[in-house]
Every structure is written in structure tokens, then in C-alpha cells.
């Protein structure tokens, strides 16, 4: 199993002073896999994503991507290996138009003509064509999330991390996001952090549950949702 892993985190911890946000996590993701990461607020999900993308360095443990040790790699180096992320708080180029946000992403490894083609493709796929020439900074939160997802797609990474992609979206948008994620998963591996159980049911196969920085359970979606410990820490708390 570990021989074929796309991503392998071993004994990874992150401490902030006295707080241990991520606590000796062992996590493995296969090529082409779609994994959901759930857990109550403050469980350490976003911090774990920051460790995977080099935005934070782990206090202990190692992280490997396709066999490369990326434990202390720089953010841009990890991105170049093929990791893309939509962060929980949108990171977009507010002062640029939608099209330019995607173009800057696509142009890193492509010639201009090819980059423009990718941009048009992604704009159409995410139904952003109508607002392609608008400044991202003036868009609503939901639309900015789509722009960020678009930038990640235009980057053409092999592993995509999505931190709460459905937050603040309408019912239809959530359904569309779920559909998109399944579509992306035909060619790419994904890890999706989400709170919305409805959403998890729509997309999930394998689910990892974080609680207080540790992995509580890791199983297929039916087992996880039926698990009493999960109900106690997560569903009970949110009364969802």
C-alpha cells in the first residue's frame, strides 16, 4: 500500500505554543483517490492542509509526495510537484479580473496560447464565462470560491486539496460542487474538508475523521456515519 501512495504523512504533529493542532497523524492517500476529511471546528484540518502545502512546517514527522520528502519543502516547490489547494479563507488575486486569476495559474508551465485555451476551458466548466472580465475583489464570497477553484484547476495539479469548498454556497451550488468534485476525481486525487453531512454523503467513499488533532476513525462513509464515537464528537456537537 505504501509503495503506491501518492501522499504519505507519518507521525506528523504541529504545535502552536501549548496547543497541539495536529497530533502524530499517519495519513496515506492512493493515486486517484477521493478522500473526505471531517471533524469539528478546531480539529486541525486546515492546519493539516497547511503542513501538506508547506505553509507551515511540521514540529515532528515526515511528509512524502510521490516518494519526494516534502516535509520542509517550500510552498512553491510543493505546488510545482503537482499539489493544488483551495484554502478555507479564499486566497485570490482581488485586484485582477477573473480571467487573469486563472491565466496566472495556467501560464506557469504553459505557453500563452495553451494557457488561454486552458483558461477558457475552466471558465466554461465552472460557468464563470459571464463574469470573466470582472474584478475578483468585487465578487460575492461564493463566486470568489469558484474563482479559486478555477485557479487550482488551471494549475492542472495531480492532487487537489479543497478546504470547505461548499461553505456559504446555496443548495444548488452545493450540488454542483459535488458533481464537479466527482468529475475532477476521474483524473485527479482529492482531499476534501467539509462540514456539510449532506455534501459528504454525495461525494464520499473513504472518510477520515479528525478530532483534537488526531485521527479518530478512518473508514468508508457508511461506517463512519454510523460510528458512535463520531456521532459523539462531531454530529452531537453540531446537532446536524
Amino acid at each position: 500500500m505504501s509503495g503506491t501512495a501518492l501522499l504519505q504523512a507519518s507521525g506528523v504533529s504541529k504545535r502552536f505554543g501549548g496547543v497541539t493542532a495536529v497530533d502524530t497523524v499517519d495519513f496515506s492517500l492512493a493515486e486517484g483517490e477521493l478522500r473526505c476529511l471531517i471533524g469539528p471546528n478546531g480539529a486541525g484540518k486546515s492546519t493539516f492542509f497547511k503542513l501538506l502545502t508547506g505553509q507551515l512546517a511540521p514540529s515532528t514527522g515526515t511528509i512524502k509526495f510521490r516518494g519526494h520528502d516534502v516535509t520542509h519543502a517550500k510552498t512553491h516547490e510543493i505546488a510545482r510537484l503537482g499539489v493544488g489547494i483551495k484554502t478555507q479563507i479564499p486566497n485570490v488575486f482581488n485586484g485582477l479580473i477573473v480571467r487573469e486569476n486563472l491565466y496566472v495559474s495556467a501560464i506557469r508551465i504553459n505557453k500563452p496560447a495553451r494557457a488561454r485555451a486552458i483558461v477558457d476551458e475552466v471558465l466554461a466548466r465552472l460557468a464563470l464565462t459571464d463574469i470573466a472580465d470582472r474584478l475578483v475583489g468585487v465578487l460575492a464570497h461564493g463566486q470568489r470560491q469558484w474563482v479559486e477553484i478555477g485557479a487550482v484547476l488551471a494549475q492542472e495539479p495531480d492532487l487537489i486539496l479543497l478546504d470547505e469548498p461548499a461553505a456559504g454556497m446555496t443548495h444548488e451550488e452545493v450540488a454542483r460542487t459535488a458533481q464537479l468534485i466527482r468529475e475532477i476525481n476521474r483524473t485527479k486525487a482529492l482531499i476534501v474538508v467539509e462540514h456539510d453531512m449532506q455534501f459528504i454523503r454525495m461525494i464520499a467513499k473513504q472518510v477520515t475523521v479528525f478530532n483534537q488533532g488526531r485521527i479518530l476513525v478512518e473508514d468508508n462513509v457508511e461506517h463512519v456515519l454510523a460510528n458512535q464515537a463520531v456521532r459523539d464528537v462531531y454530529l452531537g456537537k453540531r446537532a446536524a
Binding site: 517550500k74 512553491h76 505546488a79 488575486f93 485586484g95 480571467r99 496566472v104 485557479a151
Partner: protein
């Protein structure tokens, strides 16, 4: 940013205006006016250097005069030692560019925060000022060129026609050369901003984290932009030294650094045309106030600046562009709207 001055049409308009000034000014202005205009142009090039790194690279540099002074001294020393001016001009660009690259490497790769970057660049200018000030006496020389301490270096040989050191440029020729160089720098920066490098640089200004998450190394882009800005400031120092045949440590002074910042703030940050306009307008005001004696020139200037900063905080060029954009029908601008990156 209004799309009015962006795109090809806007660029053509700016260059056409530049060409008209180059041709018309010598016809309507006397020699004195022409010489005055030439120093305005040198200052416009200087303003462009900061307008580029600050407005598009998001790099706070409070000591841009460091590169201006280095360019001026590099030109003076090389012109005295080598006789001809071709190498001197190249060195006036290369020395400050290399110095900026070194300083930039330390700042960007050393993860210096934006606020400290302002302090460090300012300090570097102050140090250079003090160092050059203390080089009085014949023991301080590079080749045949004596540095001259606070008195500076007089009688710097002017730019000559390539290959003929005896054919020094006339004031008219030097004015034309300065205009050509200003337009060349403007054009070069426009092209750079439209290129992949420029677009990534602006993206980094907008959100450094996102740029890194997409695989770009912001340190590299900022370093290159900073070095280019240093080279352009150096070229300005070269023009300035040629203009007066003289360079002194005041080129490194805080007042000089502050003036560059004011050029950019007044003209409009995030544009290239703005800093040029800001430099020319302020230099013109300084000249005007300098010729009357009723009020202190600095006081008048200070009041005007304060007024502008309070009334037109985004700078003059963006404000005018926004006004014009309101007047001109939206239909005519639609084609240019995807050009938000290449501001004037």
C-alpha cells in the same frame, strides 16, 4: 484602474505625446527652458523606477535615491577614468542594478517584512550619503577620479556621440536623448508588465500566498523587479549628472528619496504615466516657487502636496482616468477591459 490609458491605443497616445514634446519643446522654448526640461525628464525616469517597483511589485523602497546616487557616481567616475561615455552609461545602469540585486537578495530571501524593507532601504541611502560625504581629500579616488566628499565631483565629462569622445552632445541633443530614453524606459516597462513576468509580479503584489500556492517563488520575482528598478534609477542618476556636469552626496539625501515618493504618490501609484506626470509637475512647481521670493518655496510645495494627498488620495492620473471613463461611453472601452494588468 480605468482602461482608458491601457491597451494599445493608450500606449500609442502616450508615445505620440512624447514625440510631440520632443519635437515641439525645442521650437517654442529657449535654451534655458530646454535645459530645465531636461532635468524634469531625468526626474521622470527616477519616478518611473519607484513607480514600477512600488506600484507593480508592491515593494516599499524609501531609499530609491541610493540607486540614483550610485548611478550618478558610477557615471562620473567611469567618464573621468575611461574618457568616452558609452561604458560610463552602461556602468551607471549596471552598478546600481547589481547593488539593488544584492540588497534585494538580503531583503527578500531573508524574509524581511515590508515595514522593515522601508527602513532598511532608507538606512542604506543614509549610509551611502554619509560615506560619500566623508571622501574629501585626494586620497579618496578611483583611478583619476577624485570623489570630492561633500563638495562632490565637478567637471564630469558629458555624454558624447558613440566612438568620438570629442563630440559632446549639445543641450538640444541631450534633451532629445533624454526624451528618447524616457520613452524607451516607459515602453520597456509596459512590455515587461504585459509579459508573463510582469503579470506574475502583479499577481504576487495582489496575493503572495496564492502565488506561492500556484508554484511561483515571490522572492525571485521581487528581486528581479527591484534590480530593474535600481538600474532605471541609475540611468536617471546618469542623466542628472550629465545635466549639471556634477554629482554630490545630496543625490543620496533623504530629501531626494522623499521627493521620489511624492512624485509617485501625487501622480498615482499603480500606473506608469502617473509618476512621470508627478515628477514633471512637482519639478515645475519647484522651479516656479524658486523664482519668487515672497514665500518660502518649501512651504508652498508642502501646502500643495498636502492638499493633493487629502483631496486626490489615489493620485492625479488614476483620478483623471476615472473621470474620463465616466464621460466616454462604456461601449468603446469594452474591448480594453481585460487589460487591467497593464496600467498606463
Amino acid at each position: 484602474m480605468s482602461p482608458l490609458f491601457t491597451g494599445r491605443a493608450g500606449f500609442a497616445l502616450v508615445i505620440a505625446a512624447g514625440v510631440i514634446v520632443t519635437i515641439a519643446l525645442p521650437l517654442i522654448d529657449g535654451m534655458f527652458g530646454l535645459v530645465q526640461a531636461t532635468v524634469f525628464i531625468a526626474m521622470a525616469v527616477l519616478a518611473l523606477s519607484l513607480g514600477f517597483i512600488w506600484g507593480f511589485g508592491g515593494i516599499m523602497c524609501f531609499g530609491q535615491s541610493a540607486f540614483f546616487g550610485l548611478g550618478g557616481y558610477a557615471y562620473a567616475i567611469a567618464a573621468i577614468d575611461f574618457g568616452g561615455s558609452s561604458w560610463a552609461v552602461l556602468l551607471a545602469i549596471a552598478v546600481p542594478a547589481a547593488f539593488a540585486a544584492m540588497l534585494g537578495y538580503f531583503m527578500f530571501y531573508g524574509r524581511i517584512s515590508d515595514a522593515y524593507m522601508g527602513v532598511i532601504t532608507l538606512t542604506v541611502a543614509v549610509i551611502l550619503y554619509n560615506v560619500m560625504n566623508s571622501t574629501s581629500g585626494s586620497q579618496y579616488h578611483i583611478g583619476a577620479a577624485e570623489l570630492g566628499g561633500f563638495n562632490g565631483m565637478p567637471s564630469v565629462p558629458p555624454i558624447n556621440l558613440p566612438g568620438d569622445p570629442s563630440a559632446a552632445l549639445s543641450p538640444l541633443q541631450f534633451f532629445i536623448l533624454s526624451m528618447i530614453l524616457l520613452m524607451a524606459v516607459y515602453t520597456g516597462l509596459r512590455l515587461l508588465l504585459a509579459s508573463r513576468f510582469g503579470r506574475v509580479l502583479v499577481a504576487i503584489r495582489e496575493n503572495e500566498t496564492r502565488a506561492m500556492l500556484l508554484g511561483y517563488d515571490p522572492r525571485f520575482y521581487k528581486l528581479v523587479a527591484f534590480a530593474i528598478g535600481g538600474g532605471i534609477a541609475g540611468l536617471s542618476g546618469c542623466l542628472f549628472t550629465n545635466w549639471g556636469g556634477f554629482i554630490s552626496p545630496t543625490a543620496f539625501s533623504l530629501a531626494q528619496s522623499a521627493q521620489i515618493i511624492i512624485f509617485v504618490l501625487l501622480g498615482g501609484i499603480g500606473t506608469l504615466l502617473g509618476p512621470i506626470m508627478g515628477a514633471v509637475a512637482i519639478e515645475y512647481l519647484i522651479t516656479l516657487t524658486g523664482t519668487q521670493h515672497r514665500f518660502d518655496a518649501n512651504l508652498i510645495l508642502g501646502v500643495i502636496l498636502l492638499g493633493f494627498v487629502l483631496l486626490v488620495p489615489q493620485g492625479v492620473v488614476p483620478a483623471i482616468a476615472a473621470q474620463l471613463a465616466r464621460v466616454i461611453p462604456a461601449r468603446r472601452r469594452a474591448g480594453a477591459s481585460s487589460q487591467t494588468v497593464t496600467a498606463p
